[in-house]
Each structure stands twice: as structure tokens, then as C-alpha cells.
């Protein structure tokens, strides 16, 4: 039995350690460990509830807009104004969140993941017409190649032609994802950490100038997603087809809805348009409505006192850094006592089964091209493909929302701050199902709990010893060179872990 530790797992957000036991060339057991704790739930306690919209965004610099939406929804709920958000306010929240998805998806595929498949050495001697790529080739030929090399050794199979496409788009995507951040800034003031999404709606009403600036960028992005990003994923998937059978993980999936258009009363389950929520087992065709009271967090193997166990409305996060049986700062969320995968693969699977027409159409095109079934989405390549298909679907939804904006009409509703109340904010975030639970007492936050996508995916074992989704996805995988466990790295990165989110 060989034990290896991958720490730090780079090209993700934040601090993750993966420990593996390998025997007979296969991973026998795996531990996923979050190694940064900040205690932001405690920081929120005692503050003006409105400040949560700014502070919770600082949970994560990659997907802050999702936290802004979750906290705004929780505050709308606590302030009893969730049915009064103006249409402009809902649409602009969606446009800001959608822009955050685009940036995050492109970042994940090109800048965080592609080096798992692309060997910069394969670019040498290939004369490219692209001036940026020529600069990269010159740089690689005249320097130590940092920060792109050294990489793990392994089966880099792309070959020259595909490598050139992916490397060219690695550089191009740096600029395209910036345009997505510009779109956030148009309605959110700045990014990361926008200053637009607030309780009651958004601060800035739409005008002709913001609509045209936003729309023109969206069209440029759509072209890139349709012609480069999704085809690029399929190009890699074509060469690494075996990775549709690798890293499958747990058989249960969960999603909240997202991009709400209605009054949010039942919107964690159903929305008129946007992304639909629910729970699904891989063997089943039927998506179940979520029973939110069945979500609990376990801290048996996490560095917290027992107060951290239970439903998010009842638990407290008190650190216990010397706890013996613990190995992670991530808690273990469970739904009906079982681990669930969240994220684009879970969402696309659930939306496919629930009959979300736009998603079904885009997904079928990709599945036909690859000859795969929807059940293969929970896998290394499936997750990349699901993310790209979702990105294109969201871009197409955004095209409709931008047209529905009404300049001259309000984007924000006014309200009185209540002394007490409680609120729930659920949304789809780029990495999966995001929930904020809030309780207000004497005009101040009494308790704030976050259960974040990577909390689900990177969770440690629970009280019954059941591994979390990333841990489960690693077990049984063949590793050719234990000192260079690229197969494990590919599996972990396919989940797009965000550790600052997972622990917060």
C-alpha cells in the first residue's frame, strides 16, 4: 500500500489536500481535506443584516455574484419583500449572476483544467498564425516556461493540432472572461464583489447605454462559447473518451433552481424559465421535489464541535482544531443522510429529466456528437461537457432577459428594516447548489449559515463513514505513476472545487 498526499492541489480555488492509498495500481481510499478556515459565519453574527450582501461575497472571489444573490434572496425573505422585487431587479440579478457563470466556466476549462491535458512541450516547433500564440511559443522556447511547466508526467494525448487550438483559446479566453466581468460591472459597479445586487433588487436601473454595452459583449461571448469553448471541450473529450468512465462518484444528485423570474415562493424547485432544481438518483428517471428539512451537516470528521451537526437553521460553526478523528475544515452535508453531487453535471441531468426545453436541446446536440448517454455526465469529461452546455444555455437565456429590461421602470423596492425574522436564499452557483440561512434578532444577524456547492462535493466522511463525492469519485481509479497522479488530479479538478466557498 502506497500513501500519497497531493497538497496543494493547484489550479483550483483555495486550499485543498487530497490523500490517497494506492495498491495494485488502483486508488483504494481517498481523503479530501480543506485546509483553510476563516470563520465568516461568526463574522456575520451581530452585524446589520444588509451587510451580509457585501460580506458573503468575500467568501469567494471566483463566484461572488452567486453569494450576492443567495444573501439578497435570504434578506428579501427575512424582510418579507420577496414578492415585491421589481421585474428589472430580478432580471438584472440574473444577468449579473449569468455573467459570473460565464467567467467562471471559461476560467475553469481553460486556465484551471486544460493543463491536465495539454503539454506545453507539444507546442514547440508548430508555427501558428496567431500572434498571441507565437508569443507563448517564443516564451516557452526562451525561458523556464513558468508558471505553465513543470507539470505532472502522464498521458498527454492531444497532439500538435488540438494543442494549438486549446493553447490559442487559453489566451483568447483570458480576454473573453474579462468581458464577462465587464458585464457584471455594467450593472454591478465592479467585479469581483459587485455593488449592485442588494435586498429589494439592484441599485442601478437599466438604461439604453447599459443595455447596449451589455448586449454587444454578450454576443461576442456567445460566438466564443458556440465556436470555441464547447467545440474545444468536445475536441479534448474525443481524445480522452475513456474519461467518461472515470471519476463517476456518488449516484445521487441535487440542484436548487436558479435565475428566478417568479416570486421565489417555490423557486428552489421550479422556475418559469432558468435552471430547475430537485433531487435525482442515477438509476431513476423521476426528479424528486426537494425536502429542505432533510438537509443536514455532519462534523464527525471535521474540525468543529458537535454544535456543527444538524440542519443549517439549528447548527453553529465552532472550531475544534485538535479534534482527533477530524481531517478537514469542510463539513459533510447530506440529503436524506446520503452524499449528493452538485454542480453542472447534476444540474444538466436534473434539468434534462425535468424537461427543461432549452437545456434538453443543447444537451442533445452535444450527446449526439459524442455518442454518449445523459447518464455519463457524472464523470470527468461529462462534467466538463455539462459545464460548457450549461454555459451556452445560460448565454441564450441572458439574450432573452436583456431584451425584457424596461428602462424608466424601477429596479429596487423600498422596505422597513424589521427587528426580527428569518430568511432562506437558494440559488444555482457555478459550482452547484448554494444555500444561505439567516436569522435576525433585535435588528442584527443572530445566526448565518452557508451550505456551499463545494461543501457538498469536497465533503469528508460522515458519521457512518460514507465518503464524500470527490472521495468516492477517486476510489477505484487506476493510477499509472503514483508519484505523478495525474488521473487523480483530473478527477478532482473536474468538480471545479472552490475551497474558500466550501469552508468559508
Amino acid at each position: 500500500m502506497k500513501r500519497i498526499s497531493i497538497d496543494p492541489v493547484t489550479r483550483i480555488e483555495g486550499h485543498l489536500k487530497i490523500e490517497l492509498s494506492i495498491e495494485g495500481g488502483k486508488i483504494q481510499s481517498a481523503r479530501s481535506s480543506g485546509t483553510l478556515f476563516r470563520g465568516l459565519e461568526a463574522t456575520l453574527s451581530g452585524r446589520d443584516p444588509r451587510d451580509a450582501g457585501r460580506i458573503t461575497q468575500r467568501v469567494c472571489g471566483v463566484c461572488p455574484a452567486a453569494h450576492a444573490v443567495a444573501s439578497a434572496l435570504a434578506l428579501d425573505d427575512a424582510f418579507q419583500i420577496k414578492k415585491e422585487i421589481p421585474k428589472n431587479g430580478r432580471l438584472i440579478r440574473n444577468l449579473i449572476l449569468g455573467s459570473n457563470f460565464i467567467h467562471s466556466d471559461l476560467l475553469h476549462f481553460y486556465h484551471l483544467s486544460s493543463l491536465d491535458y495539454l503539454n506545453p512541450g507539444d507546442l514547440a516547433g508548430l508555427k501558428s498564425a496567431d500572434p498571441d500564440l507565437q508569443d507563448l511559443e517564443t516564451y516557452l522556447g526562451t525561458s523556464d516556461g513558468a508558471p505553465f511547466v513543470p507539470e505532472y508526467s502522464g498521458d498527454y494525448r492531444l497532439g500538435g493540432e488540438v494543442s494549438v487550438d486549446i493553447a490559442r483559446d487559453y489566451l483568447a479566453a483570458l480576454e473573453i472572461r474579462k468581458k464577462a466581468h465587464q458585464m457584471v460591472a455594467i450593472f454591478g459597479g465592479k467585479m469581483p464583489h459587485n455593488m449592485g445586487t442588494v435586498a429589494g433588487g439592484v441599485t442601478k436601473p437599466p438604461d439604453i447605454d447599459s443595455i447596449t454595452k451589455f448586449r454587444s459583449r454578450l454576443e461576442e461571448i456567445k460566438e466564443f462559447v458556440e465556436q470555441r469553448y464547447l467545440p474545444g471541450v468536445l475536441e479534448i473529450a474525443d481524445v480522452y473518451g475513456d474519461y467518461f468512465e472515470i471519476g463517476q462518484g456518488v449516484p445521487d444528485f441535487l440542484a436548487y433552481g436558479g435565475f428566478y423570474q417568479d416570486d421565489f415562493s417555490k423557486s428552489h424547485q421550479k422556475t418559469e424559465k432558468g435552471i430547475l432544481g430537485g433531487a435525482l438518483s442515477l438509476g431513476s428517471e423521476e426528479v424528486e421535489e426537494l425536502q429542505l428539512e432533510k438537509i443536514t451537516e455532519k462534523v464527525t470528521h471535521s474540525w468543529y464541535t458537535e454544535a456543527g451537526n444538524g440542519h443549517p437553521t439549528k447548527s453553529k460553526s465552532q472550531p475544534d482544531p485538535d479534534k482527533e478523528e477530524a481531517y478537514s475544515w469542510v463539513k459533510a452535508p447530506r440529503y436524506y443522510e446520503r452524499p449528493h453531487e452538485v454542480g453542472p453535471a447534476a444540474r444538466m441531468l436534473i434539468n434534462f429529466r425535468r424537461g427543461n426545453e432549452l437545456v434538453r436541446k443543447e444537451l442533445k446536440v452535444a450527446l449526439n456528437k459524442t455518442g454518449l448517454s445523459v447518464k455519463q455526465l457524472p464523470s470527468v469529461m461529462g462534467r466538463h461537457m455539462a459545464r460548457a452546455v450549461e454555459c451556452l444555455s445560460i448565454v441564450k437565456m441572458m439574450e432573452e432577459w436583456i431584451n425584457e429590461l424596461r428602462p424608466g421602470e424601477p429596479s429596487l423596492t423600498q422596505y422597513e428594516l424589521p427587528k426580527s425574522g428569518s430568511g432562506l436564499g437558494l440559488t444555482s452557483a457555478p459550482r452547484g447548489a448554494l444555500g444561505h440561512w439567516l436569522r435576525v434578532k433585535d435588528g442584527r444577524i443572530e445566526n448565518y449559515q452557508l451550505v456551499v456547492p463545494t461543501t457538498w462535493n469536497a465533503s469528508p466522511r460522515d458519521g457512518k463513514g460514507t465518503p464524500g463525492p470527490i472521495e468516492e469519485a477517486l476510489i477505484g481509479t487506476r493510477v499509472e505513476e503514483p508519484d505523478s497522479p495525474i488521473e487523480a488530479a483530473r478527477i478532482v479538478r473536474s468538480f471545479d472545487p472552490c475551497m474558500a466557498c466550501a469552508v468559508h
Partner: protein
């Protein structure tokens, strides 16, 4: 062609959110591609050797690069995130080493420590009360360890990319900034030398008494909690994302994210300071 002088850069992350790295990726000119591959100023470039967010290497392979760069000394150490010193450093570890030890070890051999963001500059959000992990700024941590490597703060939550690029370029061209180039909070005066309020396009509203009474109203945002009168930042001059917008233009009050004491001194974000708090803030700002 004359040889390009390469300044090696190590970027490490503690109690942070990666927002600073993501913000840097938004740099318009120079673009991130220019920063990585090209000269930053004539004859000089940076060599980004270690940065977990972008580097090819993983695990031990990445740590070997870090050690190799450290052993050659004289690099620029960029730190993103605060330093949690509670519980013997167990709140943040990298490669099983407490982040607090990693900062000390790497700072000793660095030419300068550049603190990107308010967390590493002053503690920031993770050091907000009750600060159960005992997060402190990099400067305070180095002082406590008697490490005298000079530091330069580039605060902001996150900083707009040009604030960092300009600070880095200053270091590469002229070396470690002199005392007179820095303000009391360890920032370059050239980049942080002006109150938001003094450069605000809504200053006219303030002067004529046109105040927003609730969020979403037009006019000066002081009554709805704007901390622009107490915040040094280039936001009103440079804007964000190539000047497309910035918080006050988006009808949102400034929350003072570039200042020491953010967030505690600046909260509640949507409440106006009383006279006492305002006077206290002006004493701090002198």
C-alpha cells in the same frame, strides 16, 4: 537585442478568497498575457514562478518549484490573504506547513513583500470581529517575527488591477519604495493619494445639499452610508473594468474597502457615521 532582466515572483495565498488573483486577470493594459509572457517595462519583466491558481505543477512538484525559487533569494513575494496565527497556525496550512510559517520562511529571503488586497495589507474581512482565527496582516506578522524585509501594501477588496500593476512596476523600475513615496498605511501615495469624496462626481450634489435618502435615489450617498469621505482610492478617477463603472456611479455607497480597519470601522455599510465616529475617522486620516 539586450537581455531582459527578469524579476522572479512568488505568489502565496493565506486567509483569502482568490478575488485578488481574479481581479488581476482583468488587467486591461498590460493584459495578463503581457504580464506572463512579455516585458512589463522596457528591459524588465516578471517571472511568475509560483502561483497556485495558475501554475502547471501540483502538490510536491509545485512545492519543489517554490523551494528552488526561494533558495535563489531576492524574489518579489506577493501575499494574498491574511495570516491566521490562532491555534498554532492550524487554521491555514499549505503542504502541511502552517501558512504563518510559510510567510515567515519566504519573506526572509525576499527582496520585498507586496501585500495584494486588504486581507494581507491590514487583516481585512477574515480579521473582522470576532476574528476567531486571530487573523493579522502580513506586516504585523513579520514584525512579530522580527523579519525586516520591506513591505508594500496594495489594499482593496479586491484592488482594481492597475493599482497592483502600478505598484509592481514601481518596484521593478525603482526598487523598494522610499518612505516618502508611501502613506501612513504603507501604500503608494501615487496610487492611493486621494479621498473618494474629494474626487467624486457627486461632490456637486454634496455641496448643493442633494442627498439620497434611500438606496437607489440620485444624489450624494453620504446619508445612506457612503464611506467615500474616509476612503483613499482611485475608484472615481480610474473606475473598474476599463473605466466602465464603479460603485458610486452604480448608485451604491463606497464601503471603504481600501482602508485599515475594513470591515469593522466601515460597518454598518448602509448607516451614516455619527459625529463622533466621523471625527475619529478624520483623526485616523489626519
Amino acid at each position: 537585442m539586450p537581455e531582459t532582466e527578469v524579476s522572479p515572483v512568488i505568489w502565496i495565498q493565506g486567509a483569502g478568497c482568490t478575488g485578488c488573483a481574479i481581479s488581476l486577470m482583468n488587467s486591461p493594459y498590460p493584459k495578463l498575457k503581457n504580464l506572463l509572457l512579455d516585458e512589463l517595462v522596457p528591459g524588465k519583466s516578471i517571472g511568475l514562478k509560483f502561483m497556485a491558481t495558475l501554475m502547471g505543477g501540483t502538490g510536491e512538484l509545485a512545492l519543489e518549484v517554490l523551494e528552488r525559487t526561494r533558495s535563489k533569494k531576492g524574489y518579489i513575494l506577493v501575499v494574498d490573504g491574511a495570516v491566521p496565527v490562532g491555534a498554532g497556525g492550524k487554521f491555514c496550512t499549505v503542504g502541511d506547513e502552517p501558512f504563518s510559517d510559510q510567510v515567515s520562511r519566504l519573506a526572509k529571503d525576499a527582496a520585498i513583500v507586496v501585500n495584494i488586497g486588504t486581507c494581507s495589507s491590514y487583516g481585512g474581512i477574515p480579521a473582522g470581529r470576532p476574528n476567531i482565527t486571530d487573523c493579522i496582516s502580513v506586516g504585523d506578522h513579520l514584525n512579530s517575527q522580527d523579519i525586516s524585509t520591506p513591505t508594500l501594501n496594495v489594499p482593496g477588496c479586491p484592488p482594481e488591477p492597475s493599482w497592483f500593476v502600478d505598484s509592481l512596476a514601481q518596484v521593478i523600475i525603482y526598487g523598494v519604495p522610499h518612505g516618502k513615496e508611501l502613506d501612513d498605511a504603507g501604500r503608494l501615495k501615487e496610487v492611493y493619494g486621494g479621498l473618494v469624496h474629494n474626487n467624486c462626481p457627486r461632490r456637486g450634489d454634496f455641496s448643493t445639499g442633494n442627498f439620497a435618502r434611500s438606496l437607489g435615489d440620485s444624489g450624494c450617498l453620504v446619508e445612506v452610508g457612503c464611506k467615500g469621505p474616509y476612503t483613499n482610492s482611485e475608484c472615481p478617477n480610474r473606475g473598474w473594468l476599463e473605466g466602465l463603472n464603479w460603485p458610486i456611479r452604480n448608485n451604491h455607497p463606497c464601503i471603504g474597502c481600501t482602508e485599515p480597519g475594513f470591515p469593522d470601522l466601515m460597518t454598518p455599510f448602509y448607516e451614516k457615521f455619527g459625529m463622533e465616529e466621523a471625527e475619529d475617522m478624520y483623526r485616523r486620516l489626519k
